[in-house]
């Protein structure tokens, strides 16, 4: 909700929060380092263990999302945890309304996840001998999955940044909430990796699941964020 005293719109305020986060991330590179190194490490382990065996497409789809999920868990909480740790949360609360803060952080997390995928995805196909049969479906599922993943975990990140054991709690709280998304994303990726006739029609229920999940979780987060953010 835009406060009446300010002349800027919601989009401009959200972008200001996003710009601030990108700038501070550019200076410290903490979240990027954590998420990328974790992603590459997990990918290496997976590739080393099963890369050349020639498993069915199902298994490769599941492994791909396991890499994305755990990498996301290692870095996406940082967006709120760093505000609490550096004691800047109070200043942000004084200068910005809750909703633009949420949107700014959500877009930041989505961009972070996209960066991870830009690096992990080509490496994944290089290091495992899996064939991509339908690139359009694969990237649609990947983008929708990332929106849902960022959308659901940003609110959880805000919750755990106020708790005492942050790292372990993030994955514990996120997993049950992300499970429907993971089921849909793994199912959709499976159909993109295998030789399926008319893949978009075959994956329609997965795509519907991913779209509705992202819309519902982001809407709920916007409504609930105020209660987490304000003292």
């Amino acid at each position: 909700m835009a406060s009446p005293k300010s002349s800027y719109g919601l989009a401009a305020k959200s972008l200001a929060v996003l710009r601030k986060d990108i700038l501070s991330e550019y200076r410290t590179r903490y979240a990027i380092n954590a998420i990328l190194l974790f992603g590459v490490t997990t990918l290496t382990v997976v590739s080393f263990a099963v890369g050349q065996i020639g498993l069915p497409a199902d298994v490769y789809a599941a492994l791909f999302w396991i890499i994305i999920f755990f990498s996301a868990m290692s870095g996406l909480a940082q967006v709120f945890v760093k505000e609490e740790e550096s004691k800047t949360a109070i200043i942000l609360k004084l200068t910005a309304d809750p909703t633009p803060v949420y949107w700014g952080k959500l877009i930041f997390n989505f961009l972070l996840l996209t960066l991870l995928e830009v690096i992990i995805t080509p490496l994944y196909f290089v290091m495992t001998d899996v064939v991509l049969h339908n690139a359009a479906l694969f990237f649609t599922v990947l983008i929708l999955g990332s929106i849902g993943l960022a959308g659901a975990t940003t609110l959880i990140a805000a919750i755990i940044s106020r708790a005492s054991i942050k790292g372990a709690l993030f994955a514990v709280l996120s997993f049950p909430i992300l499970l429907p998304l993971l089921i849909g994303a793994i199912g959709g990726t499976k159909k993109a990796l295998g030789p399926v006739e008319a893949p978009f029609a075959a994956a329609s229920s997965e795509l519907q699941l991913l779209v509705s999940y992202a819309v519902v979780m982001i809407t709920a987060s916007v409504l609930l964020f105020e209660f987490v953010w304000e003292e």
Binding site: I159, R162, A163, V172, L173, P176, P180, Y213, M217
Partner: protein, 219 residues
């Protein structure tokens, strides 16, 4: 007081009849008697989650710590019944499908409910300060509740199911249960619900008393 006697009579009837009456599904055999206990337990686990969510919404609207107690007590009971439903379901799965666990959609959703309850308690124990704990836990309970429709209605369309889906109502909404089965099942459902309300009420009284004692000690 009178309803405790009613509960005693109904619960005794359910326990006796569940073993004496003919088994509800002849095809599966004697093991299907667990249906009389497993389904009401799963029902209470979900009911407790709904109670917890409503209390959480009320807490966020009004800020009364009593509503936070309601949410917590309901979640604790829900966790217990969820555990019972999971264990009885796993035994039944071993008898009928020959494995304790096979990620059928309903097994998935009850397991996720168990994880949500676990995460809820982990979150509560990690926050200092009653008000902050109540607010963050309420937000998480509501947020987690919102994912349930996906697990209950959407995921079964994506994953194949082994669960008997026509034991109470069939796909057209007609009741398929035999009258003798209904004579045990519905009292069992009612008895488990009353049991939940009773223990919930006791738990609420204990937590209110504890908080009052803590306030006295501060003073």
């Amino acid at each position: 007081m009178w309803w405790k006697i009613v509960l005693f009579v109904v619960m005794s009837w359910v326990i006796i009849a569940a073993f004496v009456y003919p088994a509800p599904q002849q095809g599966i055999g004697e093991a299907s008697r667990i249906f009389y206990f497993h389904v009401p337990q799963a029902w209470v686990a979900v009911l407790a989650f709904v109670v917890s969510m409503i209390a959480s919404v009320r807490y966020l609207r009004k800020g009364d710590l009593l509503d936070d107690d309601r949410a917590r007590v309901a979640a604790e009971l829900g966790f217990l019944f969820c555990l019972l439903a999971t264990v009885t379901g796993a035994f039944f799965a071993k008898v009928t499908w020959n494995s304790f666990w096979n990620w059928d959609p309903r097994e998935t959703s009850i397991f996720v409910l168990l994880l949500i309850y676990g995460a809820y308690f982990a979150l509560r124990s990690a926050i200092d300060g009653a008000e902050k704990r109540a607010r963050l836990a309420s937000v998480y309970a509501i947020f987690a509740f919102i994912t349930m429709p996906f697990l209950v209605f959407v995921v079964p369309r994506v994953l194949p199911s082994l669960h008997p889906s026509d034991s109470v109502v069939d796909s057209s909404g007609k009741i398929t249960m035999s009258s003798t089965t209904a004579l045990v099942f519905f009292p069992s459902l009612a008895a488990f619900t009353i049991l939940f309300i009773w223990v919930y009420w006791l738990g609420l009284k204990i937590s209110v008393g504890q908080r009052r004692a803590a306030e006295e000690a501060v003073r």
